[in-house]
C-alpha cells in the first residue's frame, strides 16, 4: 500500500517526502477536527449534572 503510494508519487525523493508530509497533515486535520469529535460523542458518555 505505502510502497505503491511511494511509486506513484512524482519527482525526486525529497519532493515525495514533502508531498507525503502535506498528505499526513491533511489526514491529521481531518481526524482531529471532524472524525474524532464525532467519535467522542459516541464513545465517551458524560453526565455532569445532579438529578
Amino acid at each position: 500500500m505505502y510502497a505503491a503510494l511511494w511509486r506513484v508519487l512524482p519527482g525526486p525523493w525529497w519532493i515525495r517526502v514533502l508531498i507525503l508530509l502535506v498528505l499526513a497533515a491533511a489526514v491529521l486535520y481531518g481526524l482531529f477536527f471532524f472524525v474524532f469529535p464525532w467519535v467522542s460523542t459516541i464513545l465517551t458518555p458524560e453526565d455532569v449534572t445532579v438529578g
Binding site: 481526524l31 458524560e46 453526565d47 455532569v48 449534572t49
Partner: protein, 262 residues
C-alpha cells in the same frame, strides 16, 4: 508415490515467484492497514486525553473573551476611579440581580484564577448537553438563583471532553476566588468546600446547599461536574460563598488575579 519427489521443488519454485506478487502482497497490505488503524486509535486516545480539550477549550475561552470585551465596550469603565477608590478600599456595591434569560442564552462568563488567570468560559442558561454543555461550556441549572440574588447559583460543566471547563475543579483551595462576570459587573465568590455525592443528590442545588426546604439565608454558588475522572459514577459539588459585587464602572476586581488573593 513416484510422482511426488519432483513435485515439491516445482511448487517451491513457483511459490517463490508468486508470493511477493500476490499472497505476501495481500498480507503486507493488510498488515499496513492494521498498523495504520492502530496508529489512528492511539491518536484518538491522545485526542481524548489532551489534544481535543486543548483545541475545544481554547475555542470556548476565545468566545468568552469576546463576550467580556463586548460588555466592556458597552459600558466602558470611567478612567477617574479605576480599581480602589480614594480611601484605598475596593469599590463594591449592593449586588445587581441578573435578570433571567431564555434557554441556551449566554448571560455570564466564569473566571477561576486558580485554573489560570486567563481562564474564562461562557455561562448559559440550562444544563442540556446538546444545547449548552457540549456547544457552549458552562450551564446554569434552571430554577436556581441568578447571580446577585439570594439563594444558590448552581452551575454544571464537563470535566473531560468538549473543552472540559471543570477539569481541575478538585484543585480548588479554600478561599480561592470564583468570579461570575455579567454585563453589570463582577460577583466574587470564595471557594469553601467540596463534596462527592451520588448523581441523584439534588439537595446540592437547594437555596441553602444540602438543607432541603430551608429559606435562602445567603448567596451561594455550587459547581457540579462528574467524578471520578472518565466516569459518570459520582458527582463533585464545589461550594463557594458570596463575598462582594464590583460594578463594571469600578473596574476589574483584584479577585480576578491570583496576586489579588488574600
Amino acid at each position: 508415490m513416484p510422482d511426488t519427489p519432483p513435485a515439491p521443488p516445482a511448487r517451491r519454485q513457483s511459490d517463490r515467484r508468486r508470493r511477493p506478487a500476490s499472497a505476501l502482497g495481500v498480507v503486507g497490505v493488510l498488515g499496513e492497514i492494521l498498523v495504520t488503524l492502530g496508529v489512528v486509535v492511539l491518536l484518538y486516545v491522545a485526542y481524548q486525553l489532551w489534544i481535543g480539550d486543548a483545541i475545544i477549550g481554547s475555542q470556548r475561552q476565545a468566545e468568552a473573551q469576546e463576550i467580556t470585551q463586548q460588555w466592556a465596550a458597552e459600558q466602558p469603565a470611567p478612567t477617574a476611579t479605576p480599581g480602589p477608590d480614594a480611601t484605598g478600599e475596593p469599590v463594591t456595591a449592593e449586588p445587581v440581580v441578573t435578570p433571567e434569560v431564555g434557554d441556551a442564552e449566554i448571560f455570564a462568563t466564569l473566571h477561576v484564577p486558580r485554573f489560570g488567570e486567563d481562564w474564562v468560559f461562557p455561562v448559559a442558561e440550562g444544563v442540556s448537553k446538546t444545547r449548552v454543555l457540549d456547544p457552549i461550556g458552562i450551564g446554569h441549572y434552571p430554577g436556581t438563583a441568578m447571580p446577585g440574588a439570594m439563594g444558590n447559583v448552581a452551575l454544571a460543566a464537563h470535566r473531560y471532553t468538549h473543552g472540559a471547563p471543570f477539569e481541575n475543579l478538585p484543585s480548588l483551595q479554600i478561599g480561592d476566588a470564583v468570579v461570575i462576570e455579567t454585563v453589570d459587573g463582577w460577583y466574587t465568590y470564595r471557594f469553601r468546600n467540596m463534596e462527592y455525592v451520588r448523581p441523584d443528590e439534588v439537595a446540592v442545588l437547594e437555596p441553602v446547599p444540602q438543607k432541603v426546604g430551608a429559606a435562602p439565608d445567603g448567596r451561594y454558588l455550587t459547581l457540579t461536574t462528574c467524578s471520578p475522572m472518565w466516569s459518570t459514577a459520582e458527582r463533585i459539588a464545589a461550594y463557594a460563598v458570596f463575598e462582594s459585587f464590583t460594578p463594571r464602572a469600578a473596574g476589574e476586581p483584584a479577585s480576578l488575579t491570583l496576586a489579588g488573593e488574600a
